[in-house]
C-alpha cells in the first residue's frame, strides 16, 4: 500500500520528518518497506525561459540558447528541434543527477560553453498521462505562465515523499490514506482533520437520482449498494494536484471521473465504479449472481464466461460489471459520456475472493474488497467522490442518493481488564497510559476500577477482546519495553519434563554411525516428478503417487513413495558434476495411500535410506553387497530388532543380489544391488547398492537392552572346518546348524572363506568355518572338542548330505 506524505498532511498536521514517521509506523506494526523521494533525481532542475536562439557557429545540428533561469541568464547548447524563443522548459543545471543516470556539468560543445541541458518528460520520470507534452520526442514545453526559476519538482508537483507500507491482513482499514492517517494521529497524539464531504447541488433542479437509475439487490453477497447520478459530465484531464497524487502512488491518471474513483479508492479505501448512464439498459441496475451462459467483456479486453458463483452488476438485460473486480466495456465511462451513475458498494469478501481467483483477475478494487471493506465506508467514499466532482467542477450532482443496505456496522462496546492485559504482556503498564493510547487510536475509552470500557469504531472490526486490546496497547506503548525485561524463565509456570522424540533420537545414532563410515547426509525434495513410479518399476501401492493440484512444475508435482528415487537421483546428480565414490543417506518420509484421489490423510512413513556408488566395488565380486549389508547390520544392531533376511521382492533391486528384512512377519526394509533396468532409468552404474529401513518400526521397539556374559577364565578352543554343500544351502542356515550342534559349549562361529571350483563340484561350494568353543568351568579336552566337531559333521551330512572337504 502506497501513501504519500502530502496526502497524509491533508488529514493530520504532521511536523515529524518522513524518516521519523516511517520508523514510528514500523514500530507500531505498519511496516514501511520503502521511503521514496519523488524528487530524488530532480535537484538542480529549474523552470527556464529561452530568450534567444542562435546557430552554433561550428555545428549545424546545434543551437546556442540564452536561458532565463530566474536568478541569472545562462547559456545552454542543445540539439533539440522543438525549442523556440520564448519557450518555457525544464533546465537541468550543473550538479543535476537525472533519473536516467545522466549527470550534468558545465562542458564545452564544439568550443562554446554549455551550462546545462533542457529536459524531456522522460528525463524527469514523467509521461504524457501525467503532464501534457511529457510524452513528445523532444524537450518538454511547459505552460508559458509557469514561474521562471522555480525548482521543477515544485512546478510539476513532483516533490512528495511516498511510503510503501506492508499492511497486515487484520488491518484492512489501513489500506487507505485515511487509515494510515489515523495511525499517525495515534502515534503522535495528534487530532484528525475532518474529511471534507460537502458538495453543491442545484437547488432549483427538479430531477432526482430516481430519474436516472433504479437499483435492485437480489444477492446476499452485496451488503450495501449506493448509487448517485451526475449530469453535465466533463471528461477531461483532471487537475495537476489530483494527477500528482495518483501518479505518486503508481496509478495512471486517465480523466476526471476515472481519476476521482481511483482517488477515493486510495484515499478512503472505498472502490467506486462509474457507469455511463446512457449505456445502462432500462436505467436499471440489478445486483445479482450471474446466470450460467452469460458472458462479459471487461476492461482488460478479455471475455469471461460467468456462472452462479460470480456476482455481477447488471442492467435490465446484461451484466455490466463483475462485481467488485472489474468493469465491463459495455457501460464504462468514455470520451462521450454526458451523464454518469456512480456506485459505492460493499460486497462479501468471500464472494470477491472466489470470483477473483476463479477468473484470475486482481485489481486495486478486488484487492480491497477481498480484504474486507467496512459497510460504513461506502457512504464516506460516495460523499468524498461527490465532493471531488463538485470541487473540480466536472459535473452537476443530481439530488438524492440510492442506498440499499442489508448490514449495519456500528460502534461496539467491549470491556477489558487492566490486570489481564498486563498479565498477557508480562509488564506493568499504568491504566492511564492504556487509556491515552486507546483514545489516541480513536477507541473512546473510560476506566472504572480494573475495567476499561472501549467504544470501538466500526472500521476496527479486528478488535474483540482483551488480547486484541493488549496488542493495541503494546504496539503503541512500544515493544522496546521488553528490551530491558530480565525475567526469570517460566517463573509462574509448572515444571515440565522435556522428552526427545524417540525416533529422532534413534536416527541420530544411525546418522552419526553412518557419517563415521564416510556417508554424507542428504535432504531431498519430497516432491518428485510423476514418472518416479515408472522409473523404479513400482507395482504396488507405491504406484499411487499423491499429486499436487497446483504444482510449480512437473518436476515437483507428486509426493515420493520411495526413498530410492531420491537416493538414485542424488547419485546421478553427483556423478554428473564429477563427484565420485559416493556414500549417501537420508532420513525422510514416504507418503503412501491405497486410494486416489485422497479421501483421508495418507500414511507418512519415516525411512532411512542409504546408497553407495564406489568404483572399487567393481573389482571384487559381491563387495558392494557385502558393504551395504554391513551398514544395514550396523544400523539394526543398534536396536532390539529380531529379524531375518529373505530374497527381496523390491522391483528396483537386482532379484539375485538383494534381501528383504523381515521382522514380526512384516517387511521392514530391503537392501541390495540396483536392478539393471532401474540403473539405466536413472543413468547410474549397475553396481550401485541401496538400502532402506523403516525407522518408525525400529523406533516402536523397546530400546536395546545389553546383557553382558561373563568370559570364561579357561582358554577358548578353535577348530577350522571346511564343508562342501549344495549352492542352495545358505550361509545363515549353516551357521544356525553349527550353533545348535555345539550346544552349551558354543562361543562363536563365523565363515572365513567360501570356495567354488571344479574340484569342489558343480553347484557346490566349500564353506570354511572357524568354530570357537569354551566352557566356564574347565579347560576343554581334545576328546570333548572332537566330539562336538563330529556332531557338526554328522548333522551336516544328515541335513544337507554335505561332506567334509
Amino acid at each position: 500500500m502506497k501513501v504519500t506524505y502530502n496526502w497524509l498532511k491533508d488529514f493530520v498536521n504532521i511536523t515529524a520528518s518522513p524518516e521519523d514517521m516511517a520508523k514510528r509506523l514500523t514500530s507500531a506494526g505498519m511496516e514501511v518497506e520503502e521511503i521514496i523521494y519523488q524528487n530524488e533525481h530532480l535537484h538542480d532542475v529549474v523552470v527556464g525561459r529561452i530568450l534567444k536562439i542562435e546557430k552554433h557557429p561550428q555545428a549545424d545540428k546545434l543551437v546556442v540558447c540564452q536561458v532565463d533561469i530566474g536568478k541569472e541568464i545562462t547559456q545552454i547548447i542543445t540539439a533539440a528541434t522543438n525549442v523556440f524563443e520564448g519557450a518555457v522548459v525544464p533546465v537541468s543545471l550543473p550538479g543535476a543527477d537525472l533519473v536516467n543516470g545522466v549527470k550534468i556539468q558545465k562542458a564545452k560543445m564544439r568550443g562554446i560553453e554549455s551550462c546545462g541541458m533542457f529536459c524531456s518528460g522522460e528525463e524527469l520520470g514523467i509521461d504524457e498521462n501525467y503532464f501534457e507534452g511529457a510524452g513528445v520526442n523532444g524537450i518538454l514545453i511547459l505552460p508559458s505562465d509557469m514561474k521562471v526559476g522555480q525548482p521543477i519538482d515544485k512546478a510539476l508537483q513532483l516533490d512528495d515523499v511516498i511510503f510503501d507500507i506492508n499492511i497486515t491482513p487484520n488491518r484492512a482499514d489501513c489500506m487507505s490514506v485515511i487509515g494510515i492517517a489515523r495511525e499517525v494521529c495515534a502515534l503522535y497524539g495528534l487530532y484528525m482533520r475532518k474529511v471534507n464531504l460537502s458538495y453543491d447541488i442545484d437547488v432549483y433542479a427538479k430531477d432526482t437520482v430516481r430519474d436516472y437509475v433504479n437499483v435492485k439487490v437480489t444477492t446476499p453477497n452485496c451488503f450495501r449498494y449506493m448509487a448517485a447520478a451526475v449530469t453535465d459530465v466533463k471528461i477531461e484531464r483532471s487537475p495537476l494536484w489530483m494527477r500528482a497524487r495518483l501518479n505518486a502512488v503508481g496509478i495512471k491518471p486517465i480523466n476526471t471521473l476515472v481519476d476521482i474513483t481511483n482517488y477515493v479508492l486510495i484515499e478512503m479505501g472505498q472502490p467506486l465504479h462509474a457507469f455511463d448512464q446512457e449505456l445502462i439498459g432500462g436505467s436499471q441496475i440489478n445486483v445479482r449472481q450471474a446466470k450460467s451462459g452469460e458472458k462479459i467483456e471487461v476492461l482488460n479486453h478479455n471475455t469471461y464466461d460467468l456462472d452462479e458463483d460470480i456476482m455481477v452488476i447488471a442492467d435490465s438485460e446484461k451484466p455490466m460489471v463483475i462485481a467488485g473486480v472489474i468493469g465491463g466495456t459495455n457501460s464504462c465511462i468514455n470520451d462521450n459520456t454526458k451523464k454518469c451513475v456512480l456506485e459505492s458498494a460493499v460486497f462479501d469478501l468471500k464472494s470477491i475472493r472466489i470470483t477473483s481467483r476463479r477468473i484470475g483477475v486482481r485489481t486495486d478494487s478486488s484487492a480491497r474488497y477481498s480484504k474486507g471493506v467496512n459497510v460504513a465506508n461506502a457512504e464516506m467514499g460516495m460523499l468524498r467522490a461527490l465532493h471531488l466532482i463538485s470541487r473540480i467542477k466536472c459535473g452537476k450532482i443530481v439530488r438524492g442518493m440510492i442506498d440499499i443496505a442489508s448490514q449495519k456496522n456500528e460502534a461496539r462496546k467491549i470491556v477489558v481488564s487492566v490486570k489481564l492485559i498486563n498479565d498477557i504482556l508480562g509488564l506493568q503498564i499504568a491504566s492511564k497510559d492504556m487509556l491515552t493510547i486507546l483514545n489516541n487510536l480513536g477507541i473512546e475509552s473510560t476506566i472504572a476500577g480494573d475495567k476499561i470500557t472501549c467504544i470501538v469504531p466500526p472500521y476496527r472490526e479486528d478488535l474483540e477482546n482483551d488480547y486484541d486490546i493488549a496488542e493495541e496497547v503494546i504496539r503503541l506503548y512500544g515493544y522496546d519495553a521488553y528490551d530491558n525485561v530480565d525475567y526469570e524463565l517460566f517463573k509462574n509456570s509448572a515444571v515440565t519434563e522435556g522428552l526427545h522424540h524417540p525416533r529422532l533420537l534413534m536416527e541420530r545414532q544411525f546418522r552419526n554411525a553412518l557419517v563415521t563410515n564416510g556417508f554424507y547426509e542428504n535432504v531431498s525434495y519430497t516432491l518428485v516428478p510423476s514418472d518416479m513410479a515408472d522409473k523404479l518399476l513400482l507395482t504396488d501401492e507405491r504406484k499411487n503417487l499423491i499429486r499436487i493440484a497446483n504444482p510449480i512444475s512437473e518436476d515437483i508435482s507428486c509426493m515420493r513413495t520411495s526413498m530410492a528415487h531420491s537416493m538414485f537421483t542424488n547419485i546421478a546428480y553427483n556423478l554428473s558434476v564429477g563427484n565420485h565414490n559416493l556414500r549417501i543417506f537420508e532420513c525422510g518420509r514416504v507418503y503412501l495411500t491405497d486410494t486416489l484421489p485422497l479421501e483421508k490423510l495418507p500414511t507418512e512413513k519415516d525411512m532411512i535410506a542409504l546408497a553407495v556408488c564406489e568404483e572399487t566395488f567393481k573389482t571384487v565380486k559381491n563387495m558392494n553387497f557385502n558393504f551395504i549389508k554391513g551398514m544395514v547390520e550396523m544400523i539394526l544392531n543398534k536396536t532390539s530388532v529380531d529379524y531375518k533376511l529373505v530374497r527381496s521382492k523390491q522391483p528396483y533391486l537386482h532379484p539375485g543380489i538383494s534381501a528383504d528384512i523381515i521382522a514380526d512377519g512384516k517387511l521392514i526394509g530391503s537392501f541390495g544391488q540396483i536392478h539393471p533396468v532401474v540403473a539405466k532409468n536413472y543413468d547410474i552404474p549397475d553396481y550401485v547398492v541401496y538400502a532402506e529401513i523403516d525407522d518408525d518400526y525400529l523406533a516402536s521397539l523397546p530400546v536395546k537392552k545389553i546383557e553382558a556374559k561373563e568370559i570364561s577364565k579357561y582358554p577358548i578352543v578353535e577348530r577350522d572346518l571346511a564343508i562342501v554343500v549344495d549352492e542352495k544351502i545358505t550361509a545363515a542356515e549353516m551357521l544356525d546348524t553349527v550353533k545348535s550342534s555345539c550346544g552349551k559349549l558354543f562361543y562363536d562361529a563365523n565363515i572365513f572363506d567360501i570356495y567354488r571350483s571344479q574340484s569342489v563340484g558343480e553347484n557346490k561350494k566349500s564353506i570354511a568355518f572357524k568354530i570357537k568353543l569354551s566352557d566356564m568351568n574347565k579347560t576343554l579336552t581334545d576328546e570333548e572338542v572332537n566330539k562336538v566337531v563330529q556332531k557338526i559333521v554328522k548333522t551336516f551330512s544328515y541335513k544337507y548330505g554335505a561332506s567334509l572337504r
Binding site: T26, L349, G372, D468, I474, G498, H500, V523, N574, V577
Partner: protein, 340 residues
C-alpha cells in the same frame, strides 16, 4: 709376575675395547677376555697355582680387572646400541605430510544438524519434541489456527493443495491444534519438520523446514516468551546475542510479534548478512490467540500460551554462512563436505 701381567692384560683389553669399531669386534674382545678360555677366565683358573697367602690379593685384582672390563664392554656396547637405534630411527623417517587413507568420515546435513541442536536446547528447557503429518487437513493447517476459508489471512501463504480439504502443510503451526487436542496443560512442545509453499526463487524453496514451539500453562506471558527466546538464541548464536520484538500479525497469536536477533556475524554493528541493520528477522511469535485454545478444547479463561515458529533453512544458512538456499537441497558432495 701374575699381578703385573694382569695389569698389562687389563690395559691391553681396555685399549682394544676402546678401539673396537663394531658390535662384532666388541664381542670378539668379550670372548678374548671373558670367554671360556679368555684371558681373565684363564687368570681365575691360574689361582690354583698361587700360594694361599697370595690368593686373596690376586683374587681381588682379578675381580677388579673383570669388573673394569665388563663395565667398559657395557659402556661401549650401549654406545653401539644407541648408534644402531639412532640409525634405524633415522632410516625409518617418513614424510608426515603424506595424506592418510583412514578416518575418512562423511558429514551431517546442516538442516537435520540444526534440528538436533535446537531440540537439545528446547528439551533442556522442558519442551518435548513432537512431529505431525506433512500432508495435512485444511482444518489443522488453517481453520484450527483461526484462518477460516476465504479469509484474508490465507493470502499470507501460497499453499499447495491436493484436494479441497487436504494440502501440504504451509506451516508447522499445523501441529499446534493436534497437540492441544491430545495433551492437557501445562505442556511445552517443539515440532521440527518440513513445510511447503508454492513459492520458488533465490530466497525461497518450495520445500523448507520450520521449528514450531508451543507452551500452554496458567500464567504464561509475553515476558516468558522473551526470556525463553533469549536463552534459545544465546545458546544457538552465542552469549552476546540479544533479541528485540516488533509488532506483526498472525491469525493464531494475539498479540503477534516478529523477533529480531542481533546479527551473529557482526554482533549488531552492521554487515552484509544483516544488510547493515545489525539485526536479523528470524522468527514470528506471540501469545496464543484465545480462540485457538478454545477451538482445541482448552479453557482460555484458565490457560494462556505462547507460540513461536522459525525457518530452519535460514538458521542453518546463518550458522554455516550458506548464501543460496537451493544448495541445501542439491546434495552436492562438494557442498556437504564443507559441513564437517
Amino acid at each position: 709376575m701374575l699381578l703385573d701381567e694382569l695389569v698389562k692384560i687389563k690395559e691391553d683389553l681396555l685399549k682394544e675395547i676402546q678401539s673396537a669399531s663394531s658390535q662384532k669386534e666388541l664381542n670378539d674382545v668379550r670372548i678374548k677376555a671373558l670367554g671360556k678360555s679368555g684371558l681373565i677366565t684363564s687368570a681365575s683358573k691360574g689361582m690354583r697355582d698361587v700360594s694361599p697367602e697370595d690368593r686373596p690379593k690376586l683374587g681381588a685384582l682379578i675381580n677388579e680387572v673383570r669388573t673394569a672390563i665388563e663395565q667398559a664392554l657395557q659402556v661401549k656396547g650401549e654406545k653401539f646400541e644407541q648408534e644402531a637405534l639412532n640409525k634405524r630411527l633415522e632410516e625409518e623417517k617418513i614424510d608426515i605430510t603424506e595424506p592418510s587413507k583412514f578416518g575418512k568420515v562423511g558429514a551431517l546435513h546442516p538442516i537435520p544438524d540444526v534440528i538436533d541442536r535446537l531440540t537439545d536446547i528446547c528439551v533442556d528447557m522442558g519442551f518435548s519434541v513432537v512431529e505431525g503429518p506433512e500432508i495435512e487437513t485444511d482444518y489443522y493447517n488453517f481453520e484450527a489456527m483461526n484462518i477460516p476459508k476465504n479469509h484474508p489471512s490465507r493470502d499470507m501463504q501460497d499453499t499447495f493443495f491436493i484436494t479441497d480439504e487436504i494440502l501440504l502443510r504451509s506451516q508447522t503451526s499445523a501441529v499446534q491444534a493436534r497437540e492441544m487436542e491430545k495433551r492437557k496443560p501445562p505442556f511445552k512442545i517443539v515440532c521440527p519438520g518440513k513445510t511447503y509453499r508454492n513459492d520458488s526463487d533465490a530466497t525461497h524453496s518450495p520445500i523448507f523446514h520450520q521449528l514450531e514451539g508451543l507452551v500452554v500453562d496458567e500464567n504464561i506471558s509475553m515476558a516468558d516468551l522473551k526470556s525463553m527466546l533469549t536463552i534459545l538464541m544465546k545458546r544457538l548464536y552465542g552469549e552476546d546475542t540479544m533479541i528485540r520484538f516488533r509488532p506483526s500479525f498472525f491469525p493464531f497469536t494475539e498479540p503477534s510479534i516478529e523477533v529480531d536477533v542481533s546479527c551473529p556475524n557482526c554482533h549488531g554493528k552492521g554487515c552484509n548478512i544483516c544488510k547493515g541493520s545489525g539485526m536479523l528477522e528470524l522468527l514470528g511469535a506471540g501469545v496464543v490467540n484465545p480462540k485457538v485454545l478454545e477451538m482445541s478444547g482448552i479453557d482460555s479463561k484458565k490457560y494462556r500460551g505462547f507460540a513461536f515458529g522459525f525457518g530452519l533453512d535460514r538458521t542453518a544458512m546463518i550458522l554455516n554462512s550458506i548464501s543460496n538456499i537451493k544448495s541445501l537441497y542439491k546434495n552436492d558432495i562438494r557442498f556437504l563436505n564443507q559441513m564437517k
